[in-house]
Amino acid sequence: MFVLSRIEDVVRLAPDSFSSSTELALTRAINGKFANKVVDGLGLCVCLYDIVGATDGTVKAGDGGAYLNVEFTLVVFRPFRGEVLTGRVAGYDGGGIKVSLGFFDDIHIPPGKLFAGMSYDLAAQGYVWTTDDGEKLDIVVDDTVRFRVDHDRFHDCTPGKKGEAMDPKLAPYSIIGAMDRTGLGVTGWWAE
């Protein structure tokens, strides 16, 4: 689920941080900039892992802050293709099932990636899996489910691109999952 990513960036330390150690001030600044943010192409950044190195701070005219070139590693949430994750069913409709991990919500499982015998039951307003044995298993909100990461998608949310309005529904980073093999789906289905 998580990886370490090595990044190089320019960090500005405000003058009021000069009293603390460089390492602490950099930690604060980097965590402030990256925590809980999606970096396009990278994933959801969690926090700083460690600082590899930093140059001395340079000062620019008219600005009291110090600018440092820092190389550091971040803990990033980026599940790999084919990884199996456990989450909670946040909701569903004819278009698919939404799964949430608590800290990350943009996981969608389209109907095409569900078990062959699974379909949306309009009467029950839910997904029901009719197994080969004739058993009917349903999925309910808050069920713990296991799913496979099929692929993920990044959406560039840079504002003001050629005048087009930002679509609030398009998440910067979303995962499309699948629940179509043994062991996937509601965890209670497979427990011994």
Binding site: M1, G102, A191
Partner: protein
């Protein structure tokens, strides 16, 4: 900003849990030294991801074992023809039975015979333990709370100076 290496290493859930614990300990240390809670916790975004991720990890299988057990399992699995990511998923998901192992290991049937699968599950269970039965959310266990629950918990925790 330049990404030098998109993926320099994989981290298991347990290792990330360790990173979060260290971060929390450091923040606590700063608070006890006299900094206010708001500066020690650095930023709201950090607080949010810390809290939500810790909540998720506390309910995931990694909360059931320690790092020494994880290292021991990896040592024992060295002789097994499993890829790095398969071992990572085994550590993160903690399969209890064959059905739970199948999605983690590609072509389980062709690569291992039944005895080997049993042996593998046995090693996993004896080294890391078994996930508690019925603790998987179906029986009314509260998995992660809703968004509103999270924010109200956070407000209660934050000490305003």
């Amino acid at each position: 900003m330049k990404v030098l290496e998109q993926r320099s290493a994989f981290l298991s859930d347990l290792e990330v849990d360790g990173v979060l614990n260290e971060l929390a300990a450091r923040q606590e240390a700063l608070v006890s030294q006299g900094a206010s809670y708001s500066t020690a916790l650095d930023s709201e975004n950090l607080r949010t991801i810390q809290y939500e991720l810790k909540e998720y990890l506390d309910k995931s299988p990694c909360s059931l074992y320690k790092i020494e057990q994880m290292r021991s399992l990896l040592q024992q699995l060295k002789q097994w023809p499993l890829t790095k990511v398969e071992k990572l998923m085994i550590i993160n998901q903690l399969p209890n039975c064959r059905a739970e192992l199948e999605p983690l290991v590609d072509e389980l049937d062709t690569r291992f015979d039944d005895d080997q699968v049993e042996e593998l599950l046995g090693i996993i269970i004896s080294t890391l333990g078994k996930r508690p039965a019925g603790g998987d959310g179906d029986d009314g266990e509260v998995v992660s709370g809703t968004a509103t629950d999270d924010t109200s918990m956070m407000d209660a925790e934050t000490v305003t100076t």
